[in-house]
Amino acid sequence: MSDGATSSNPSVGALNARFGDAVQRTEITSAGQDVVFVNPARNTEVLGWLKDEADHRYDLLVDVTAVDYGGGRPIEVVYQLWSIPHKRALRVKCELPLDALRIESVVSLWQTADWLEREVFDLFGVTFTGHPDLRRILMPDDYEEGHPLRKDFPLRGRFSRAEQTRRALTQDPAHYYKPEDFDVGGAPAVPDQVEPTTGSEPA
């Protein structure tokens, strides 16, 4: 890993110039991949600029994930970006200390982030503020053992197998989505006026 080396990706220099101290540092991995560490308080600002600026246009949010290095080190939230027009990749990381696992959601920028952020919340316990529907996605809603991909979470879970089996069988999948969530029972909206349809009248 070489800190401060010149990057072949123009976005790295542009980010440094544009945002100054919001970009904490940049790295190039030995495989030649650019990593930018961004102040977590300003993630949407930086990512939104990367997405919309014509010279960069990282229009595809490939992945949102997190890494827990264990030993009390901060959890990294990792955004993997790709620019379809410029064919460039960029990795943006935000470090969150374990006692403040909160970061702003990027769903307003990329719809992709919806499920990906839910997954990070589910498996790492990182809260994404402003997410429209932040709840567990892979584990059951009432899962009480914690966030499985954290390093302090044991491989086989916290409860005994018997307890896990008992809890599993007492849950009722029908309760995951309740009719109230769907506003079921309301009348359908009747259109004021039916548009005349064209093109499909039988000849």
Binding site: L155, R161, T165, A168, L169, T170, P173
Partner: protein, 223 residues
Amino acid sequence: MGLEGSPSSDQGGLIGFAAPTFLTTKIDFIVNWARRNSLWPMPFGTACCAIEMMAAAASNFDLARFGMERMAFSPRQADVLICAGRVPYKLAPVLRRIWDQMPQPKWCISMGACASTGGVFDTYCMVQGIDTIVPVDVYIPGCPPRPEGLIYGLMMIQEKIRGESLSRHGELRAEDPLLVGAPRANAEEVATLSGPFGNSTQQEEAGGILPSERPTMTRPERG
């Protein structure tokens, strides 16, 4: 069997003109014969094994030869539950409910290592063998088992049915209605069945838990 006067006996059909128009047999035999050759499997396919189950039903292996023509996708009309693939705890109540919905007599096949024991997935979210949840009649080993393995498993079910008796139905097939939706095994049995074994007992250590002690390859300090 009153075939007298029916067209087939008059015209010397299958049984023949001079053949007796009745046969004597054991009720167990005739019931088991009928049950054995018209098993309707309920395919509870989740993962890799489900693909092999599809292969078994497709042209090359042709499961229909064994009277299993009709995959019953509704548990209410099924006899054999084929649990093919891994079953996480989140899916466990679904499996149990499908088993409870099946009418008696019913049998269960656990297809593949994951369904039978959890397989290589000794993790926080996986049921360590569906026999902690539902009673299993035949376990098919393999990861995944070949279609021949599934066919052999079904033939073992047929073999098992051959030995059953209606007079012992209560002993063989009865289930306590109060236990609907509950684990089949009690806590001790679950612990025994799902304890780590083999490779998984030796691999308790994860990467990255302890700070790395290798001087040349430590991560740079974060500032």
